[in-house]
């Protein structure tokens, strides 16, 4: 619309030229179609948000804000506090990012700086294959193979750290289990690595060769070149990629539901079982009685929806800003 104004601004408003009066029918209908498609997406998102908020309204009105954010989830006694799940979602997403970030950056730098181009392409294919594996397959592998194997490792770590001041609050404790916050975080890390890697790789590849060669010419080692020429240029884009990975980790349902241990407790012991918002919705929706229970699960869906949208929007904004800056440079 504003583009139309700009395009026609060269021609005076009162001109009788046919160009300003009627655009060809094909152009107009194409414009309407594109407009409709774009608005359809926005309207559907809005309708989802509105209908879900409506259905979860009884949870907020019955429990009040203190009930909604309490730590007690006990449907048998009408307690529907969501805090353990919010905690679990944030903790597993944090673990996933902490593990995936160095690994993904390492792979992207490997592919752009170290490996010769003809070997880089097959490695990229393999990384993308990780992204194609369905979520439920990760969950099944996690619960059938990874969790039993990790249980022994967790137990030896926990008993070894007995009494060590800071580390034992995170990695110690009784009741360690193969299905735990840490295992869920680990599986999520593997699932988000392909996204973060491919986006970071693209951003790092846009660093102009001149900057790199300039650094080398000044006598920089490879590491100093990466730190001085590549990183400042691509950091915004990489941060955006990490945020997108975070958004995915928070919403991942089946894989997390199978390996997180399904125990609605808040604890700093990462090797203990926990629970997350997508996991509880997947596990309990089938049998939830219509009423506050169901409204509580839908309400947690709304919370998750809002958090994921915010994270994805900020990721997009950061990635766009970095792309615009790199084009400008």
């Amino acid at each position: 619309m504003s583009m139309t104004a700009r395009a026609d601004s060269a021609i005076p408003a009162e001109s009788a030229s046919p160009l300003t009066r009627r655009r060809p029918f094909g152009d107009r209908s194409f414009q309407v179609l594109c407009l409709a498609a774009g608005l359809l997406v926005l309207i559907i998102l809005a309708l989802i948000a509105i209908s879900m908020t409506q259905q979860s309204a009884t949870w907020f009105t019955t429990e009040g804000w203190s009930g909604v954010f309490s730590t007690d989830w006990d449907p048998a006694h009408n307690a529907f506090g969501a805090l353990p799940f919010i905690y679990g979602t944030l903790v597993t997403a944090a673990i996933a990012i902490i593990i995936a970030f160095p690994v993904s950056i390492g792979i992207s730098l490997l592919l752009t700086e170290v490996v010769p181009r003809r070997f880089a392409r097959p490695i990229v294919y393999v990384i993308d294959l990780l992204a194609v594996v369905p979520s439920v397959v990760w969950g099944l592998w996690g619960i059938l193979v990874l969790a039993p194997w990790l249980q022994g490792i967790y137990q030896s770590i926990a008993s070894g750290l007995n009494g060590v001041p800071v580390l034992s609050t995170f990695f110690g404790g009784q009741g360690v289990s193969g299905a735990s916050f840490f295992t869920a975080g680990l599986i999520l890390a593997v699932m988000i690595t392909p996204i973060v890697t491919s986006l970071s790789r693209e951003v790092i590849a846009t660093v102009p060769a001149i900057d790199r060669e300039g650094a080398y010419a000044l006598g920089a080692t490879r590491w100093e070149m990466i730190r001085g020429a590549v990183w400042p240029h691509s950091q915004a884009g990489v941060v955006g990629a990490v945020l997108l990975g975070l958004g995915r980790a928070m919403g991942e349902t089946i894989a997390a539901a199978l390996v997180i241990g399904s125990s609605a407790t808040i604890t700093t012991h990462l090797f203990n079982p926990g629970y997350s918002m997508p996991a509880v919705i997947a596990n309990e929706f089938g049998e939830a009685t219509v009423g506050v229970f169901r409204a509580a699960l839908i309400g947690m869906g709304v919370l998750l929806f809002v958090i994921t949208i915010i994270i994805n929007l900020s990721a997009r904004a950061i990635v766009d800003r970095s792309a615009r800056r790199s084009r400008g440079a």
Partner: protein, 369 residues
């Protein structure tokens, strides 16, 4: 130009929104009759199932899913014109679908809770019990093959008040059995389930002064409990963890090769889980006129297995059209009749006691249009 652009956006956006809303509302009004068929009403002699045709949709309990699948294909071989679908989405979702009018019948392991009664909008529902099944207390204890448990001991185990196998309370009811000092690992459901609901109801009825965790499809188990998804998941935890005990439905326990403990019933006898003991227990239940009952802890018969539960198919008494009435009567009659009930044994379910079955068959006539 700017003004034309904004008006443009508004009109197109408005058109899209109106189209979407129209599509949503028209689908919700047609969904109340979505179960109906357009086939003309078949001759609905209540005895002759061969004349039934059309489509029926059901959804709900996963406990009856295996039976529904077997019965649907058996029914289709007798009535080639009839198609029945059953979706095992869980009792809660099945009931929600019934209230929304998207299914003809809902499979549910529990009666409609009082909190949901307002969703019926005053319409009458009919409960048709269709099968009975025992819940095993499956355990993994090497060297112990005939474990006996009482309701009080089970309540204390599942509240983590008894934490090792050689606890005096367990030893007292298992005289002569050498119990190891292995710690007890609890195996419970991570997903909500009718099995959990009825197991906790059993503990509420049989050990009311000891059981404090209430009765619901989701229980706040002790934090040391190992949760797994589905009866199969719990069976797997029990099988792979020495010293584990969990509640698994009988058919899954049998399929996984797990032994269930013998449970003390109302008569003071310790009875091992079996389909005949389950039917004996259900026969002692007090059946309300609307055919609701609790099979757990129901019978004082010495041969009854007390942890037994039931499942119903719930339908509205008044159906929108006559063909639905005929098809529901034919299908539910099939499930309750000798052909349908005969399918239960090989699937490791227990048959309905004959008094309950005849009452249910008599209730079929109350489905009208």
């Amino acid at each position: 130009m700017q003004l034309r652009g904004r008006k443009h956006v508004a009109t197109v956006g408005g058109a899209v929104a109106v189209a979407l809303l129209a599509a949503c509302s028209s689908s919700s009004s047609s969904s109340s009759s979505s179960g109906a068929t357009s086939a003309p009403a078949a001759t609905s002699a209540s005895g002759s199932a061969a004349a039934a045709s059309g489509k029926l949709d059901g959804a709900g309990s996963t406990f009856q899913l295996t039976f529904q699948q077997a019965a649907i294909s058996a029914f289709k071989s007798v009535n080639s014109g009839a198609t029945v679908n059953y979706d095992g989405v869980g009792s809660g979702s099945g009931r929600a679908d019934l209230y929304a009018g998207t299914v003809n019948y809902a499979g549910s392991d529990s009666t409609i809770p009082t909190t949901e009664e307002s969703k019926l909008n005053g319409k009458k529902v009919l409960y048709f019990p269709i099968l009975i099944g025992p819940i095993d207390m499956a355990y993994n204890l090497s060297g112990v093959s005939n474990l006996k448990l009482s309701p009080k001991v089970i309540a204390d185990i599942f509240q983590a008040k008894i934490t090792t196998w050689n606890d005096p309370a367990i030893a007292a009811i298992n005289p002569g059995v050498k119990l190891p000092s292995t710690p007890i690992t609890l195996a419970v459901r991570s997903d909500s389930s009718g099995t959990t609901q009825n197991f906790s109801l059993f503990l509420e009825d049989a050990a009311p002064s000891d059981w404090t965790l209430g009765s619901s499809s989701t229980i706040k188990w002790p934090s040391t409990a190992r949760a797994a998804s589905g009866n199969g998941g719990v069976a797997q935890v029990v099988k792979s963890t020495p010293g584990a005990i969990g509640y698994v439905d009988y058919s899954t326990a049998k399929a996984s090769g797990l032994t269930g403990a013998s449970i003390e019933n109302k008569a003071g006898q310790f009875v091992a889980p079996s389909t005949t003991a389950a039917s004996t227990d259900a026969a002692g239940a007090t059946v309300a006129p609307d055919l609701t009952f609790h099979a757990v802890w129901a019978s004082s018969d010495p041969g009854a297995y007390p942890i037994t539960y039931q499942t119903w198919d719930i339908v509205y008494a008044t159906q929108p059209n006559a063909n639905d009435v005929a098809l529901l009567k034919a299908y539910l009659g099939f499930l309750l009749g000798s052909q349908g009930q005969a399918l239960l044994g090989p699937l490791n379910y227990a048959q309905l006691p004959s008094n309950i079955d005849s009452q249910a068959v008599a209730q079929l006539s109350q489905i009208t249009s």
